[in-house]
């Protein structure tokens, strides 16, 4: 070992983590072993190293034993590396003279053999001790943070986040793919458990977004590229042509009246095809912005150029309709980004046993939301597709949830949605309502009470997952009905229940293009395809990419109150970042030893962050430390070995490898 750093005095600390580590690893033996390693002056074990007394112990040792290196063997560095670096720094040591060893996730949690796990912990500790020997003092760099914030997605989460950030005085860009903001919540009739009407609580927030001086609202727009990093993201937004000028349209809707199509004959997306619209339309009366949009697939003028353009005449005074409109691109600079891109509902065609798409009277919960809605396609009448008021309605839970063949997760909202719809259907029609459930999950404030209310209204709760929906009558009483075949595990019977209307409580799943969004913003996905938070409990909105936060169902299924809470949390993080004004970067960046660089440019196209530039004058490459994320790609690729990386220097890595391989 080199003596480059003077006399090296290492302190090693082994954490019990309660029993998380101590139950599987003999922590005392590991500490005793560590004390025998070269350079180690003191080695201890303690119940909770991350606690105040644990940190105090390290700081006291630094003073008493003149330690200049610290190794802590505990949990994952993503949880507590910062904690211990700060502790070491407060005791007057450079924080990068610290090395963390993960003997919890990498050892005690994944092994059961106590003896072998203890040996592994010793190996890992030895590797860290040998590596920390070569550590160098490093400086954290600060980058300035642009206070502007981009919010992607205009559902309830995006709306709430945008309003919160805007209210703090920051500029917000809200980008929404659809022609209006509001998201799924705008389609709901009432909201559980209080039954407030969704529109009554949502539309004021929508117009607040429109009116807010600090919010730039771009609907019918999509983010197409994201460059830069925390504090300075450069984002390009594509604004799709709606063939109507937003600045001129006042939403009088006379163009829709005038359209050459006298009958509406195209599926209305907002009503999920339960009603029709014209080629020129407004998604729903409270759409924000209240601007019409022309569907280029349906409009005769846009398809053939041979229309008498009645809409143009109707709008002659304002001249808002513009068939020549082209898509435009806006570039903006923001310091942080909140992603709230929401979800899509499970397509029940994937479960043919329920006959969705085959039997007209099988609906999804979202369709029934529109049916019970007073401004929906039937004006709030719950009627089957053949116009009858149903006498019996069955609601099937967990369609596309809790199922290894489709989606494994619980979608969390369907139980409450179904209770609400059962209540509303009973109220509207007086029908017998059956809820087919596996477990009723009514966890939330006032939710269990709502469940009790619906129980007492006489809704039938049949515990059992429906095996199939069929129209094959086995008894004269079943003629003309849909029959649910189910084991009712409450009564202990296999039952056949004839129904006039079947409602499938479809689960929530990531948007079809979630993977593209994930790549575009450089964030992670969890196993289920929802966006990955930095920590499932302690950082459920920040991502592993600094300055990018996630909110709402794009992070995982949740209901409206939880989405709003997470949106507020994401907004608070964005505001805190903007108000701090700077962001401290990890110093694990790459740097080039100019004398050794041959100017081959191999590294430049390899860098995923465009952090390397070429100095034509000196014929040398140069790493921009603000952009460098420390991925190490260039370090490995450099043919002359002239790129090095802080915290991952050759001697550090080689001694670590030597340490982990040297059998005790």
């Amino acid at each position: 070992m080199s003596e480059r750093n003077g006399e090296v005095r290492i302190g090693v600390y082994i954490c019990h983590c309660g029993v998380n580590i101590a139950a599987t690893v003999d922590v005392r033996a590991v500490a005793e072993y560590a004390a025998t390693l070269p350079g180690v002056v003191v080695a201890r074990d303690y119940k909770y190293m991350c606690s105040d007394p644990g940190q105090e112990m390290i700081q006291q040792d630094i003073r008493d034993h003149q330690l200049n290196r610290v190794v802590v063997a505990a949990c994952s560095p993503s949880l507590h590396e910062r904690t211990f670096r700060n502790a070491v720094e407060r005791a007057g040591l450079n924080p990068f003279f610290f090395q963390m060893v993960n003997i919890r996730e990498h050892d005690s949690w994944v092994h059961s053999d106590r003896e072998a796990a203890t040996e592994k912990a010793k190996d890992l500790v030895r590797a860290a001790v040998m590596r920390v020997y070569f550590h160098k003092p490093l400086e954290r760099r600060r980058v300035p943070v642009n206070p502007d914030v981009l919010v992607v997605g205009g559902g309830i989460a995006g709306i709430h986040a945008a309003l919160t950030v805007a209210n703090s005085g920051k500029r917000v860009y809200l980008v929404e793919r659809e022609p209006t903001i509001g998201g799924h919540m705008a389609q709901f009739d009432k909201t559980f458990p209080t039954l407030d009407c969704a529109a009554c609580i949502l539309t004021p927030k929508m117009s607040a977004v429109k009116e807010h001086p600090n919010i730039t609202l771009w609907t019918y727009s999509e983010v197409v590229s994201v460059d830069g990093s925390v504090g300075d993201y450069r984002v390009v937004v594509k604004r799709k042509p709606r063939y109507v000028r937003e600045d001129l349209c006042v939403g009088c809707l006379q163009c829709i009246e005038a359209c050459v199509f006298k009958e509406a004959k195209f599926d209305d997306e907002f009503n999920l095809g339960l009603s029709k619209r014209k080629p020129i339309y407004i998604p729903f009366p409270q759409a924000t912005p209240k601007v019409v949009v022309i569907d280029p697939e349906a409009c005769i003028q846009l398809r053939t150029g041979k229309c008498k353009k009645a809409c143009l005449e109707a709008c002659a005074e304002r001249g808002a309709i513009d068939f020549e409109q082209k898509e435009t691109y806006e570039e903006i600079h923001v310091g942080s980004i909140i992603i709230a891109t929401g979800f899509q509902t499970f397509d029940p065609r994937r479960m043919p046993q329920y006959g969705y798409g085959k039997y007209p009277n099988v609906y999804t919960t979202l369709e029934v939301e529109r049916l019970v809605n007073a401004s929906g396609p039937t004006g709030g009448q719950v009627v089957t597709r053949d116009g009858r008021v149903p006498e019996s309605v069955g609601i099937i839970l967990c369609v596309g949830s809790r199922d290894e063949r489709t989606n494994r997760w619980c979608s969390r909202v369907c139980c409450m949605t179904s209770l609400k719809l059962a209540h509303l259907i009973k109220e509207h029609t007086g029908a017998e309502v059956f809820i087919f459930y596996i477990d009723m999950r009514a966890a939330g404030k006032g939710y269990e009470e709502f469940y009790q209310r619906v129980l007492n209204e006489g809704v039938h709760f049949v515990r059992g997952r429906v095996a199939e929906i069929t129209d094959w009558a086995m008894d004269p009483s079943e003629e003309g009905k849909l029959i649910a075949r189910v084991e009712d595990t409450n009564t202990g019977f296999v039952r056949r229940i004839p129904l006039d209307m079947v409602v499938l409580a479809v689960g929530l799943e990531p948007q079809f293009d979630a993977l593209n969004v994930q790549r575009l913003f450089g964030i992670g996905c969890s196993m289920d395809g929802f966006f990955l938070e930095r920590h499932p409990k302690l950082a459920p909105s920040p991502t592993y990419t600094d300055g990018i936060f996630i909110a709402g169902v794009c992070q995982g299924p949740k209901d409206i109150p939880d989405s709003v809470m997470q949106a507020g949390y994401a907004a608070a993080e964005a505001i805190a970042l903007a108000d701090t004004g700077f962001f401290e970067l990890e110093p694990n960046t790459a740097y080039i030893i100019a004398e050794e660089c041959s100017g081959c440019k191999t590294c430049i196209p390899l860098c995923p962050y465009q952090a390397i530039t070429f100095n034509e004058e000196k014929k040398k490459a140069f790493v921009n430390e603000v952009l460098c994320k420390g991925c190490g790609t260039c370090v490995a690729a450099c043919p002359s070995g002239s790129i090095k990386q802080n915290l991952f220097e050759d001697e550090e890595i080689f001694s670590e490898i030597e340490g982990v391989l040297a059998y005790a």
Binding site: E432, M440, Q452, L455, N456, E457, G458, H460, F461, V462, R463, M474, D475, S477, E478, D488, N490, T491, G492, F493, V494, R495, R496, I497, P498
Partner: protein, 189 residues
């Protein structure tokens, strides 16, 4: 036991609705099918249906299944279920309501001693105004399992010899006045 599919026409939802509106049945709809009643019941291990199942059957309108079950007759009215029920359902009261209806509709399990005993007891009190133990037990045995009389004979003989068993059929005076009470209660029910 052979399992049969239950058609919905076999379910009497109107009966279930009436049941939950009458005394004792009001909180039945609150049942969350947790099974605490069956767990608390000291006799549920001898029952053909657990108390939880009986409640599910009533709620879903399977009247005959509920009324024919032995469960309602095995209930010893200890009220353990009602004490433990998280929804405060008076399960014992529900059992009584079902027992009454089973007797009235002649749907109780035939030759099962407990409903026979209940029926004979009521019948004797109604006719004579007094319960003569020997005759109630004798009639119960005859109508459920007459062979039980042989095993009881020795005990009966000993009781009779020491003057503890009377073969006399007792009756009260003014039996008509007594019959007024059940008639009035029937009107309330």
């Amino acid at each position: 036991m052979e399992r049969q599919i239950r058609y919905q026409r076999e379910a009497n939802l109107e009966w279930a609705r009436q049941f939950t509106k009458q005394p004792g049945g009001e909180r039945l709809l609150s049942c969350i099918q947790c099974g605490t009643c069956s767990g608390a019941c000291p006799l549920s291990i001898y029952m053909d249906l657990t108390p939880r199942q009986v409640i599910a059957l009533v709620r879903e309108g399977f009247r005959e299944d509920a009324l024919r079950s032995k469960t309602i007759w095995l209930c010893a009215s200890c009220y353990a279920c009602a004490v433990e029920c998280p929804q405060k359902i008076s399960i014992t009261d529900i059992m009584y309501r079902l027992k009454r209806e089973a007797i009235r509709s002649n749907l109780y399990p035939k030759r099962f001693p407990i409903p026979v005993l209940a029926r004979e007891f009521c019948e004797m009190v109604r006719r004579r105004g007094r319960n003569s133990e020997f005759w109630v037990v004798f009639r119960m045995a005859l109508r459920s399992n007459p062979f039980v009389l042989f095993s009881m004979a020795r005990t009966g003989w000993d009781l009779w010899r020491t003057g503890r068993l009377s073969l006399r059929k007792e009756r009260i005076r003014r039996i008509n006045d007594l019959q007024f009470i059940p008639a009035a209660s029937k009107e309330v029910d």
